[in-house]
Symmetry: C2
Subunit: 193 residues, 2 copies
């Protein structure tokens, strides 16, 4: 398995690419560095993944699938879903960064991504059909809030994050609490100024 194992080499390259792209982004990443980290010849990167852009796309797709598999969606319990998503982001900061780079450097959504979100939103709509009313949260808007809160501390400006809680346990507790409140105490009047 050690020598001449194409599959293992592919994986080593992909892992190295994930690390490189996560820290430097698409434009900042260096193919040579990926080759060194992966202990693979540079040419193999091109042989297996085409070019830098395609390699990046492959990394993104993998990260997405990985996250989807690791964080099961529970439309009837958004509190624990947010908590699980939060835990995932804490444990895989590289994946979060990859998605940020991707949003900035490669706008647009892949088919897989679209499909996974559609699925989630549909599941949510089934459980909470009343969301759809005017002025209320649509299922997709609910997801937006959930995702935003789960990544709130991770995405906060450094200067602010330094002032806030550093304890992940407490962060998760605050996120879960917020979502609990939001899903149970809905305001009736329009957002008074």
């Amino acid at each position: 398995m050690a020598p001449r194992d194409a599959e293992a080499t592919r994986r080593r390259i992909l892992d190295a690419a994930l690390a490189e792209f996560a820290t430097h982004g698409l434009a900042g990443a260096r193919v040579d560095r990926i080759a060194v980290t992966a202990k693979a010849n540079k040419q193999l990167i091109y042989a297996y993944y085409g070019n830098k852009d395609q390699l990046f796309d492959t990394v993104v797709e993998h990260a997405f699938q990985h996250a989807h598999d690791a964080v099961p969606f529970t439309p009837d319990d958004l509190v624990s879903y947010a908590a699980t998503l939060f835990d995932y982001l804490v444990e895989h900061p590289d994946h979060l960064r990859i998605h940020e780079w991707r949003r900035l450097e490669r706008p647009g959504a892949t088919e897989l991504e679209r499909q996974l979100f559609n699925e989630k939103v549909d599941d949510l709509a089934e459980v909470q059909p009343n969301y759809g009313k005017k002025g209320r949260f649509s299922p997709a808007d609910v997801m937006v809030i959930v995702v935003a809160l789960a990544s709130a501390w991770a995405l906060a400006p450094a200067a602010l994050r330094d002032l806030a809680t550093h304890d992940p346990k407490q962060q998760r507790s605050l996120i879960a609490g917020s979502i609990h409140v939001l899903t149970h105490y809905r305001q009736d009047s329009d957002t008074a100024r």
Copy 2:
């Protein structure tokens, strides 16, 4: 004012740099492109701003100051603060992008940034001294939530954003409503699973 106006040239370069960095980031930006856009000679960029990195830092600092001036902080009315912040982000997508790039490519906070956030958090602590209790939101944590919600739609994954409301008015209403609920209905028990 047209010819040989150093101040105007400096500003043109800065504007061009903002646009270039906002779309391509630090690593992806091209100094030559900035020079062309600014209708200035490349050397002037180096004469006025040192090098690419310093130019980027200057742009970031300017954007930060601009946002701070445009969005007055109202610690006693977080709902309207969030709404105003949201409006600013909608009207200045470049500034939001610049700050994202900055978080990814130039970690760490500048002195100005630290100072502005300290100020806000202190103001908030004064108005809401009870926030500090254990398990509750500290002022900084409140700010984290407010910022996260104000930028929730802007930062959502493309595939999800496509499914959610596109109407900024409604987005703002949902943001304001969420913050209203969060600041008025605090949960008592610890985030039940």
